[in-house]
Symmetry: C2
Subunit: 434 residues, 2 copies
């Protein structure tokens, strides 16, 4: 038992009319059971690949891990679900200053910002860099663009450029290039959605080259899988947390704040933010995920959380044991305290203060943050999202609304007249020049 | 004219029932005028120091700039309003990889996470580092803690430790230490709120040591100040943008998304996020600021924005001219396009697609991002926030709700029994061990 999901401060006996009662759970018992059954049925029907891949053989990555030792740097190219999970685990385990403190540098190309790509290409020695290009569709515009730029540069500096490239895809242009050129290739399974794919080659291939213990990671996910198959909501953390968020949403909590009190979990927050937004945000339904970082956001967002619209439910994540600690010498109350005692007291102070203001809040308390516990945490949220989709009666596994923008972008790049693209044609431009 | 505030896509002639009509502006003409008058009156009464400090003499910083040239690194210690503006301007001008590409490294200690402080102390050579400790109250716990740790280490490695320290404060423990030790000291004015203080010594002292042209920065702010004193809403960008957000809020837009399409503006987003949340979030009122980053968040948040609850108003920020660009060679529609063309087309595609879905959106289009334009941008949002406070009839310049948590934190550090702190005492702990 190295993680605790504590939901005391969402109960009505603590926060009164803003809380959830045991009766609320009883009242939707049928609905909860149906949601549980549907997820398990979909898993049986092979529709939820993310619940299967954690049992795949991971031995295939050990050869890649060995192979990667010849390279000084790693660059991962990908967007959204093809990169956020890898970033979450890498930074969650290695910390936010790994590049500053180690010889092997890791960079992520996760945007089409030309300054970012240009600068990273100026920092690294490309010849000594192992480059991952990752896209399920194989056609993601930003991924293709960054990959084609890097591939051209590699071809310009070495005849052995094929050695430097690894492709992870299911289909599309990227797979065609990999086939044609004979690049190292890992296939992403068809029945795993992008944002649920971190335990497939999408995450495991690059992570095993970053000195991440992928075996412990998968062990954590498997351990969590067992717990999430329990039909008793009071023993199933994913079903419980989904149900709490479902009831809270129906009580007007349209924003779900995730607030880790450790900087290493910031990228985990960004991974969760995609998972929750893309899975749940559809058909006029949606709970907006917001990432806050403790203690720093106490000086930025806490005023709003405490005294703004009562439209939030907040989840704290705390880590008991930090990698390092420092002692404070002072003439006041801080004397002989450590920084870890300070940040833990700040979290507790914020939690109690929010509870006194009747803001529903949950704490996920982790003993130590490592591959095993972060594997648990990620799988917990994947299952929670699957259950939440069924509770809301929406398909958590598609993202139909983003296609429109992609089509328009492509038309713009093909220099289609804008009039053909817009539904509404303004007669006037409303504008202030400044 | 190097910035454009384009609000076409919030008008009812474009997005119909989700939009704002010219009549909406007319209907609250009195209210808008009153808000304008109140801000100007408060400025006259010397209550709004942030509108005055941009006319202060900045020559005092040139000596510090010269002095700083003897140091290899700069560390800024501060929380919330004492550091977010400096980060926004530094990264907005210098980019996200400045430390990787330059010998002079800049680090920000803006949390009580012990791993962060420990790692930064391991990266830098403290003896060759100029350390800024910044806190208006002089008593901010995290700032004091980090400062005391660094001060002790400095004293341990050099007798000349006083040379390495600069303090910016108004009062409190930090000022006492600076007085006692005789550290370089810059006074933060009493009548400037922390989150409105970046154009005071809080921002200018560290920024002038980071090779930032603070003269151009202040020029931009002054230029914007002129525009924001125009009583005609159709010529005053801050009054217009505040009014748009006010009307939108009353129409149920409880979330304000800011989405720059350039990574250099991410920290600007975090600065705005504090400004908007702490100023507007009180008395049961509040519009939650959410920072998205284009194009990457199209693969994370766009599904929700397009098809979730219709509770958002979104502001794009685009920058026409990037510092660098790269050309793409491909066999498809990307061929011979540049990354900047791709990201601009993605922003436009998203904008049109959201408009087709009747999501109100504004574009702030900047010709080139530098000290002058970012100075304009920051002052625009400061004035917009002041006007928004008056429109909502709340005090935008205090943050009363965060005190409670600080008091509890202090009691916890002084080992007060938790029973004395909590208002509600749970009889049971609701928890799942995982």
């Amino acid at each position: 038992m190295n993680i605790e999901l504590n939901y005391t401060n969402i109960m009505d006996e603590i926060i009164y009319e803003e809380g959830i009662s045991l009766l609320d759970f009883v009242n939707i018992k049928e609905k909860i059971n149906t949601a549980y059954d549907k997820v398990m049925q979909k898993c049986k029907n092979d529709e939820l690949g993310f619940m299967k891949i954690i049992y795949d053989d991971i031995l295939i990555y050990y050869e890649l891990k060995e192979y990667s030792k010849d390279f000084d740097n790693i660059v991962v190219i990908g967007m959204g679900g093809s990169i956020l999970g890898t970033q979450a685990i890498y930074e969650g385990v290695k910390g936010i200053h790994y590049n500053d403190l180690n010889d092997k540098k890791v960079y992520f190309l996760d945007n089409s910002d030309p300054e970012k790509t240009f600068e990273i290409l100026n920092i690294i020695n490309l010849k000594k860099t192992l480059v991952f290009a990752i896209s399920k569709s194989g056609n993601t515009a930003e991924t293709l663009a960054n990959f084609l730029i890097i591939e051209e540069k590699l071809k310009g500096i070495t005849k052995d450029y094929k050695k430097n490239i690894v492709v992870v895809a299911n289909t599309g242009e990227l797979k065609n290039i990999a086939d044609r050129e004979g690049y190292k290739f890992y296939r992403m399974p068809e029945n795993v959605g992008g944002r649920f794919s971190v335990f497939s080659a999408v995450g495991l291939a690059p992570l095993c080259c970053m000195d991440i213990d992928i075996e412990a990671l998968i062990e954590g996910a498997k351990e969590m899988d067992k717990l999430c198959r329990n039909k008793d909501i009071f023993k199933n953390p994913a079903l419980m947390n989904a149900t709490i968020h479902y009831i809270a949403y129906n009580k007007g909590k349209t924003i779900s704040v995730l607030m880790p009190y450790i900087e290493r979990l910031h990228k985990f927050g960004l991974w969760y933010r995609q998972l929750w937004a893309e899975s749940i945000g559809k058909n006029g339904i949606g709970q907006t995920p917001v990432i806050s970082l403790g203690a720093k956001d106490q000086h930025s967002q806490l005023q709003l959380y405490m005294d703004g619209l009562k439209n939030i439910i907040i989840t704290f994540i705390t880590v008991h044991k930090f990698k390092y600690d420092l002692k404070i010498r002072s003439s006041n109350y801080l004397n002989n305290r450590t920084l870890s005692t300070l940040i833990h007291s700040e979290q507790k102070g914020t939690e109690i203060s929010l509870t006194n203001n009747k803001i529903p809040n949950i704490s996920i308390n982790i003993d130590e943050l490592n591959e095993y516990t972060i594997g648990k945490l990620i799988y917990l949220y994947e299952m929670q999202t699957a259950f939440m989709g069924e509770l809301l009666e929406i398909n958590a596994f598609n993202q139909p609304a983003v296609e429109g923008g992609k089509i328009i972008t492509r038309k713009l790049l093909e220099e289609c007249p804008v009039d053909e693209i817009k539904e509404s044609k303004p007669t006037k431009k409303y504008c202030i020049e400044i």
